[in-house]
Amino acid sequence: MDLIFLIQEAFDGLKRTKYASLITVSTIGICLVLVGTYFVVSKKSDDFLEELKSKISLQVFLQNTVTESQIPNLTQKIKRIEGVAEVNFTSKKDAIEKLSNEMKTDLISIAGYNPLQDEFTVLLLPNFSDENSIKKIKINLQNLEGVETIEFNNSLIVQIGKFQENYKKINLMIGILIGIFAVILITNTVRLSIAARSKTIEIMKLIGATNLFIRIPFLLEGIIQGLLGSLLSILAVFFAAKFIGDNFNFDFSVSRQTYLTLVFLGISLGFIGSLIAVEKFLGAKKNKS
């Protein structure tokens, strides 16, 4: 197999159909920018929700009878409860000092005593941020000796968490739609760019070119178009992310995986598009035998 000739044929083909190729490459690029944007945006919003969830906490207030020596023990017990990520203790002494500093007023002298209670801030694991899990954790905390009351001030996040399930479904659907759109559009533009040369394929068959010989340059062309299109989309996504990062003080870094996925998609869709087209024209007149 004269591989060099076939590769040359592929590049010649691209050169000969300059403008058509340019349009094909741009179409692939635009499609993949859409796909890339989807990846980045859905990743960012996922990250954002996860971060919100990782901040969910319960305030556990202790009875006044609990002594300082019991705190380490109690801390261990809380840590062992399923769903607890982190436990932080704040003594009522620290709490009142902090509050007094913030208000620039000596609160103890106003009240005549320290009105606050010792407290634990219990951070939850993201997976335990739904209402049921929180209820269970609350019961477990309530059962511990020395616990007086438990407060939960993150119901908004729980609501967002509920919404997240739906959001994931919607997001997936959007992703699938964009995916289908990209697949159809890319394979079709590549297909059409080859369909325009069905006469060439017919002549090649007439003068005794084997199917492999006809196929390879077209497949290479599809792959090259896909590659160029994906590089175009990478440039666009990269500079868009940089622009947003520089001007809006918002971290929009795009992972290497996203870039690799775009290249992979470009190449494989270019390949598939040209494969469909070439096979169609090669099989245009099948022998009945």
Binding site: T200, I203, M204, K205, L206, G208, S289
Partner: protein, 217 residues
Amino acid sequence: MVEFKNVTIKYSENVGIFNVNLSIGKGEFVFLLGDSGAGKSTILKAIYFDEIPTSGEVIFAEHSSLTLKNKELPFIRRKIGVVFYDFKLLEDRNVFENVAFALRVTQMPRKQVKIKTLKILTEMGLVQQRYKMPNNLSAGEKQKVAIARALINEPYILLADEPTGNLDIASEREIIEILKKVNLRGTAVLMATHNTRIVEENTSFQKIYLSKGKITG
């Protein structure tokens, strides 16, 4: 070399060719005559196995339509030269590339391709035009390019489907002279036409008459 045994290719009721028997030997020059729609192109297609008989058998060299495998087809096609009234040149390649392409597909080394292509272009009087695109050639020149491409693999037979259909009389005569020369060197020629003038001017060649898909003489 070419043999039709009771060949029928039926496109639809009474359309196609029916019970055709014919035989073309090595080095013969045969006119295939008949009105438009008589089935001339269909017979040519059957020879290069672009159409496979509904019934009967077409034999070319050692290949039979009954046992033909798709894989063999490209290699058979290299032993059959074809030219058409519409030339079928690759419009986006120049004269040299058009002719060389028929050799390239056989995986011949580049140097040899170049030598052979230049040689046949010289014989055809086209070497000066080798960098021209088909669009910038006269119809007669285009047909000569097509003939050069058809001959470059040294086929057993040259099939010409109304090769002068798009040409003026001067070019027509030139093409016929070329076909005669090709024939003198041992390549069989089967030329389909409904141009009676050509037949009158070349009475010494064999003729097959076709009417409504059947051989009439």
